[in-house]
Amino acid sequence: MSLTPYTGAWTRSEAAHLLRRTLFGPTHQQISSIANMSMNDAVNQLLTIASVNPPLAYDAGETMVPQGQTWINALYPSNPNSNQLCEMARVKSLTAWLMQNMNYQGMDISQKMFFFWHNHFGAAFSSDARATYTYLELLRTSGLGNVKQLVKDVTLDPAMLLFLNGNTNSVQHPNENYSRELLELFTIGKGDQIAAGDYSNYTELDVASGSKILSGYVVQGIRSSTLTAAQTLFLNPLHDTSAKTLSYHFGNATVANAGAQEYANYIDIIFQQPQVATFICTELYRFFVNYDLTNDVETNIIPALAQTMIANNYDILPVLQELFTSQHFYDVALLGSIIRSPLETVFSMLNSTETQINVNLATDYNIYLNIYYAAANMGLDFINPASVAGWEAFYLSPSFSRLWINSTTIKFRFDLATGLFVFGIPINGYTLKVDTIPFLNNLSLPSSADAVIDDICELFIAKPVDVATHDDLVNILTNNLPNFEWTLQYNEYLNNPNNPTFVDPVRYRVQLVLDRVFKMPQYQMI
């Protein structure tokens, strides 16, 4: 079984759809570039993980490394007060840096896959920014790697051990927090409760046995003034050495004592269940394609993806390759089936208008922090997932991505658009406001009002708009004058590129158009 490959025409429309789903806001040039490749080349190009530079010190609270250098392997101050201030400085740096990476995304799926895994594992920031950084980088760099290996790595990651209390799970005092989520949310998923303590795919016995298997780990070095990183240690006296029995869902398997290797043996057993692939592929489908698991999707699409995943021993790349080159992915019925998350909202406003923040280190980081808070105000506080299950918009039936939109968040989306495109957002003496001139100049035919609106709609709206909407937007651009007036105005700007008398009106009209587009219901989908 495999998905039917897409064999239709490869046009800007398919290219734009693919990029809307795999990037945080594509540019006009990116759509052109992808549309000019073959579909397979385009997908292969997207399925890569870019490298990024580490976060840098910029805040006065950072007293261990100079401004402009990274703190990811630096000690913390021993004085408790300075230690606390240093952590706050590092969290701010890390948070800003995460937003910077999304703003500086390449033409690859790295940031979206990172978002996917971050939502999947759902850990909030730890008490040591270095550990948080290491954990998030594990998710980002493993984005297209092997799911089984990623689960193993996450299991022993200091930030995760701290988050789900794996660091205090011992033979003397079992703590089942991680053991439960490992099954329920990270691997096999929870099915219906079919009997007391039996959740179709696992039972309470497996939760209890899992906590025994995973016992014995501690974390050291948290905010240490002598250790340059948080570290996971296995301490045999804390480990439950008994033989652990799993339920019939795992063939009543016995997990023998294997000390520090036991966790991996257990995860191998979990991944022998094909349900793991189904669970992960369903989540991928909902993240990249559509919330609605129709009969066709459950019968033909998910099982095919799961089969590919199993055939490739849980490598993720072949699965996405198959999905993004399939007939189903480009089905016009699925265009715009996902409502933008707050990140897709703010970064489409920035990235698709080719706005990258580049003032100076401290200003940039402050701006990114404000962008972070903007997303948080719209319901997505990135380093604090809503819960260990991630954000409800990705899993909660029946509303799914509609949960991003309510009276509070829609108002903030509107305010953000007006702030970025009309009034400007003051941040520490700098005003963040999108300059629409470079954006305009990179469109296909900036002197044509119709072409400008067509390009803008293609970039920001998932399906073609009707004529009335197109004309409304043209009228905003031309200020209700005949279209040739826009052409004259634009050409006058080209002849006087440094004269505000000619530049400002052009910039302003495009700002007004974008401000309107971002307030249309049609904009809110990808």
Binding site: N165, T168, Y199, I405, N406, Q524
Partner: protein, 516 residues
Amino acid sequence: MKRRQFIKNVALSSASLPFVSNGFGMQALSKKLFNFSTGAEDRVLVMIRLNGGNDGLNTVIPIDQYANLMLHRSEIIIPQNQILSVTPEVGFHPQMQGMKGLFDQGKLSVVQNVGYPEQNRSHFRSMDIWTSGSLDVSETRGWLGRYFDSYNPNYPSGYPNATYPDPFAISMGSEVTATCQGIAANFSHAVSNPNNAVNLYQGGFVNDGSYYGEHVEFVGTIIEQTNSFGQVIHAAAQAGSSLSAMYDPTNSLATQLKYVAQMISGGLKTKVYVLSLGGFDTHDNQADATNLQAGVHVGLIKKVSDAIAAFQDDLQLLGLEQRVVGMTFSEFGRQIESNASLGTDHGDAAPLFLFGTCIQSGIIGPNPTIASALPDQAGIAMQIDFRDVYASILRDWFQVPTNEVQQLFAHQVQFYSLAGTCNVSLEEQALANGSMLVYPNPTPSSVHVNVNLAEGRAMGELRDAHGATVKTYFDQSFPSGVHTIFCDMDGLASGTYFLVIRNNEKTFLEKVVKMK
């Protein structure tokens, strides 16, 4: 323990009728005559969600089980000399001075051991169960959403309108509440601060029937509703006020409740407000190793108690106490045994709180029993089904007919008297107007009848659906006045019956449903 053993530690109603819903006797009637009567249409329910699974055993402490609790959770337990006793057997967390004050005034009750059968210990699934009021995974609607749906099947299309200018429910914060999820839309409106005016651009849109089109229509409707609801909410906030000095501005829950008081006093007709406080998933550092009065849970419980006490104070000052009742809920309690992280893991049943002047105050239900030896992962056994708490509130507070309440739930509802103490004056009026009250109805066994008879002969009988008399209860002379009469229906098959009382020239008739 079976639900049959459900008793009230503090007997406020007749001891012989501990399980009977609506079980007010004549004594209760006279007590309630002083209550101001308001119609259910003005009534408001405030729900406070304690997100994460509140540790009930460190909130409402079963003092009579303290010795065994010490065996299992000595690292986190509240020192016995610091517990705030509210009855000889039951104590509150030392930070709950505010709620103890309400309890002493008869404005707070504790419903003990609330949960559901076969507890699910996943936060997500369990919160779904609590918000949907259903154990069925395929139920995607909230329990209040189902209630609102039953009267407003086309919502949100055509709302707001002249009859319903205000949101049905308000969810404080930036998220709507799953309790109000209906078929087509969520009935709750998210409000972070009602003092902010709203006027969003409202464009045209067309639903082309695709996923995209459905989303477009959804977003367009939200924008329209945000504007229209935003205006009425803002107007109510401007017109309303808040009078209590007890709100702590650093307490987020208190601030939200203050907004709620402001909106209610400003005349907003919203029926339900849902608030949320997170952080109750206390797997670690629930208590401080060196100071048992410090720790995460301590601060959370203080927030809850202070906020509710301030809100109730405000309602009193605003003259709104008769219009508002509140309840807390959480997805589960926690295990009896503490873990090694000074915390507790996911458990089962837990107490919930009801507050307001119209609630049945006291401790409802017995203390949980804590054994000296426990199986692994033991939680508190459920005795009262949370769905019955919801159902009873719908019946008592919103005066939803019991048959309609039953239709909202898949299980056989067991009603309790929880929020009906202000109803008596309403029912008094009904009696004076010549109708009779039959309760509980539907009934699993027998019923009581309250009827206002004129002096003279009265005859009471029960007829089946075909009009045949199946029981004759009395045929005798009565003095004039309200009489409470027991009518035995034991041994009768399930079905619909008619209770008929003839008094001189007057005939009273009421349908009674027997359900086993």
